[in-house]
Amino acid sequence: MPEAKLSLRSVHKSFGGNHVLRGIDMDVATGEMICLIGASGSGKSTLLRCINQLEPIDDGSVWLDGQDISEPGLDLGPVRRRIGIVFQSYNLFPHMSALENVVLAPRRVLQEDGDALNARAEALFDRFGLAQHMRKYPDQLSGGQQQRVAVIRALAMRPEIMLFDEITAALDPELVGEVLNVLRQLRAEGMTMLLATHEMGFARELADRVCFMDGGVIVEEGPPGQIFSDPKVARTQAFLRTVLR
């Protein structure tokens, strides 16, 4: 039984004949921040979705705190509430205000009480500089604001680990900074995080470890200093040459 916070053991996933994940092994320690990098289509999103079982895996196993959460037939509700995930396209609920988006799951899933919950949600909005936008609807918010609400929404469930899937990729360049700041803040608070990103500068600055994915496997991994300045594998070198120019 693996002892890390989150462990993947030889995870395989295919879509039809497309073998997307071809044996992924990974351990994430508590408080660690790992960045997944790799070309488009290399399977980063799929890997994240397989971790919280949004996609059932074909083979191998996923462990959370020593529990095999990829066991078929397992009730996934209790697992998913411990793993927060934020997508590239925010996916806020458009018919609810920002605040309602945030309190829905804690109220329904964690059975939290109205007033205390609202106070907690407001504190979260405050913490990420969105207190004055709390009552607005998603279509009244900028992309950066929406993405921050999506992060707050995930955090409101008090997750033990957060997964981020290229959460700045859909944003205008001037809005990227405000969202990355949120991640810096979380990093400082010691949140365990796994994020797929194309922001190499950001990965270099904050990651404890960088994993380079290609063709459905992790080709190379190591501290950012080593991966970015001294990649050992030819494929990593080729990829980094194209993205860091």
Partner: protein, 269 residues
């Protein structure tokens, strides 16, 4: 008033004037020309007899209350059953497969059969099994027929609404740990329902008119009462009265629904 507002005000005044003048011209043409046609005196006598209008209006209005009553108790039943059928059709779990089949057959059958036939078959057929009074009332079974037919339509409309909500919404909810039920109830349905309100409003307007079909199995509602007057007085004015009464109710109802929709939309921009 800034420059733009001044421009828009002038524009609005201009188009109102044009619309007013053209409407007045058309009305004037109708009012002046139609009476010149050779058949007008007969048409006026048999369709627009003021005396008959005044004589039949109160009774027809009272008969219309029956339509309104049937409508009023049908709508909540239709919406409830329609929602249930829509959910049954969308059931994902393999164990619920029979429910999905049932939903599909239900919708096919009741959308495929004309309302009148369903009203006849259920309105006469079920009581014919030997139900005692008052449980064999044509009001009850006529309503059941309307509910069965219209809930099939509403179910399809709702289902299309549910399917039009992008899968990412469901994923986002599931990832927050919400159950399938809560996801449907708090995330998918509210959006789906909003999206299909206009289509459903059309359904309800159609229902309001189809309520009159219950007269085939006995109830003397407005259309039947108008028919009785027509036979009695050998005059079609009662039908015109009925049409007017329908319009008095349905036009404001549809306008009000539009208004609610617009308000909902304006509130968020």
């Amino acid at each position: 008033m800034n420059r733009r507002q001044a421009y828009e005000t002038a524009q609005r005044r201009r188009s109102l004037t044009v619309a007013g003048i053209s409407t007045a011209a058309v009305l004037a043409a109708i009012i002046l020309l139609v009476p010149l046609t050779p058949g007008w005196p007969q048409v006026r006598a048999s369709f627009f007899d003021g005396g008959v209008f005044a004589q039949t209006f109160p009774t027809l209005l009272r008969a219309f209350l029956i339509d309104v009553m049937i409508f009023a108790w049908s709508v909540p039943l239709i919406l409830t059953l329609g929602l249930a059928i829509a959910l049954a059709r969308g059931a994902r779990a393999p164990a619920l497969f029979p429910l999905r089949i049932f939903g599909a057959v239900y919708v096919d059958v009741f959308r495929g059969v004309p309302v009148v036939l369903t009203i006849y078959l259920i309105g006469f057929g079920v009581p014919g099994l030997g139900l005692p009074r008052p449980w064999n009332s044509p009001y009850i079974w006529g309503t059941v027929a309307l509910v069965l037919t219209y809930s099939a339509y509403i179910a399809e409309v709702l289902r299309s609404g549910i399917e039009s909500i992008h899968a990412s919404q469901r994923n986002a909810a599931i990832c927050l740990g919400l159950s399938e039920r809560d996801t449907m109830r708090y995330v998918i349905l509210p959006q789906a329902v909003r999206r299909v309100v206009p289509a459903n409003m059309n359904m309800l307007v159609a229902l309001q008119k189809d309520v009159a079909l219950l007269s085939f199995i006995g109830p003397v509602e407005i259309l039947r009462q108008a028919g009785i007057y027509k036979s009695l007085l050998a005059n079609f004015t009662p039908y015109v009265v009925a049409a007017v009464i329908f319009l008095i109710v349905t036009v404001p109802a549809t306008r009000y629904a539009d208004h609610l929709l617009n308000r909902d939309r304006d509130a968020r921009s």
